[in-house]
């Protein structure tokens, strides 16, 4: 059976890619963010996952409003990125794990999560930056050390899937991974958040108190945030802060690894761009 090694939640912001490209990770503005990652990188170096199931939200690169899936699972042999409109350099292709993709698609459909399947899928910064943050040298000559299965959750157009439903999707994926006939080691990643709002007169909204409580809940009370509707979450954490749905899916998936979740490392920093950023690594 496959082995679940843990889960990581992290923020994603296009400017992070720009900072990596310019090599300014140690500048005073950036260091409090990038400085949160070495302990997580070290842990991953010991645990050596083979596959990442990446919960992320597309920002209008792969999906447009003509066809907007609520849940979409990648089943591609590789995932290409693009400049997304800002001239940022595209990342090298990320290899896909098609065996796990189709195993998940079949298991999810059996559990009545009727997902959209994608044999071609452009991966935007929300899908590529976590890899770059967790394996900074991973896009070098040796190639990425992991294969991925991207799971895209709609945060573009309301109605968004309910927080409890997203958590249940994560649980179903975790259980499917735990039952996967494979010797692969699997990591779950939730990419998004925490509180931030890009649009409207309330742009720049940040809710530190909620964020810190949410991070605590990820360790010991993972269903805590499912008590809120998405409308309430938008009010609390901002129009894009609702991306914390990705963390709920990631944490739901970790349930299948068994009880006794413990924290490997966390970092929380305000602000990068308009965002309250966080990284949190969990294992059992």
């Amino acid at each position: 059976m496959a082995k679940i090694i843990g889960a990581v939640g992290t923020s994603h912001i296009p400017a992070i890619g720009g900072a990596i490209h310019k090599g300014v990770q140690n500048d005073p503005y950036w260091q409090p963010f990038f400085g949160g990652f070495p302990p997580v990188q070290q842990w991953l170096g010991q645990e050596r996952p083979d596959v990442v199931v990446m919960f992320y939200n597309d920002h209008g690169l792969n999906f447009f409003l003509d066809k907007m899936p609520t849940f979409a699972v990648g089943a591609a042999p590789q995932y290409l990125s693009a400049d997304e409109g800002w001239g940022i350099p595209a990342q090298p292709p990320v290899p896909g794990c098609q065996d796990l993709s189709w195993h998940l698609i079949e298991a999810l459909t059996e559990r009545e999560f009727d997902v959209v399947t994608c044999q071609e899928m452009l991966l935007d910064h929300a899908g590529t930056l976590p890899l770059k943050l967790l394996w900074p040298e991973g896009d070098g000559q040796g190639g990425w050390p992991v294969e991925i299965v991207p799971v895209c959750i709609n945060t573009v157009q309301f109605p968004l899937p309910k927080p409890g439903r997203v958590y249940a999707l994560g649980r179903a994926i975790g259980e499917a991974v735990a039952a996967w006939q494979s010797d692969k080691r699997v990591l779950f990643v939730g990419s998004g958040g925490l509180s931030h709002q890009l649009d409207g007169k309330r742009a720049g909204h940040i809710n530190k108190g909620f964020d810190l409580q949410f991070l605590d809940s990820m360790v010991s009370n993972p269903e805590w945030a499912t008590r809120y509707t998405n409308h309430e979450l938008v009010e609390l954490v901002g129009t894009q802060g609702v991306e914390l749905l990705m963390w709920l899916a990631m944490r739901g998936a970790l349930v299948a690894a068994g009880p006794g979740v413990r924290e490997v490392h966390r970092n929380y920093h305000i602000p990068i761009s308009n965002t309250a950023t966080a990284v949190l690594a969990l294992t059992t």
């Binding site: 649009d199 720049g204 761009s273």
Partner: protein, 113 residues
């Protein structure tokens, strides 16, 4: 009806219907060639995508709040902003009526909530 959130318009069915042409144009800016075509002749490019008069005025004004009112979605509008090299703090400052320095200070102040 859901309670209103101050200074915030969730991108719901009303906005998705209203903003379709504008968002479709902004989605096209994923491609460098399309960004260059817009720069070369904005009016022709907007006609090509069938923008409403409200949407075209909003684009001409460069005002993000007007683009949102016309149905623009933040994720797609960000690609329009990219054409002008604006970052999210520039956009935040414009929408809140602050200078960029003031907006950055507001963000940093969130540390002391």
């Amino acid at each position: 009806m859901l309670p209103e959130i101050e200074g915030t318009t969730p991108f719901d069915s009303t906005m998705a219907r209203r903003g379709y042409a504008l968002n479709k144009m902004c989605f096209s800016f994923n491609h460098q060639a399309n960004r260059e075509a817009f720069r070369a002749d904005p009016e022709a490019y907007m006609r090509q995508y069938g923008l409403t008069p409200q949407q075209a005025d909003a684009i001409r004004s460069g005002q993000v709040l007007a683009m949102l009112e016309a149905g623009g979605n933040a994720y797609y509008l960000a690609k329009f902003a990219g054409i002008f090299g604006l970052d999210m703090q520039d956009i935040g400052a414009q929408q809140t009526g602050m200078t960029k320095t003031e907006f950055q200070a507001k963000l940093v102040a969130a540390n002391f909530q």
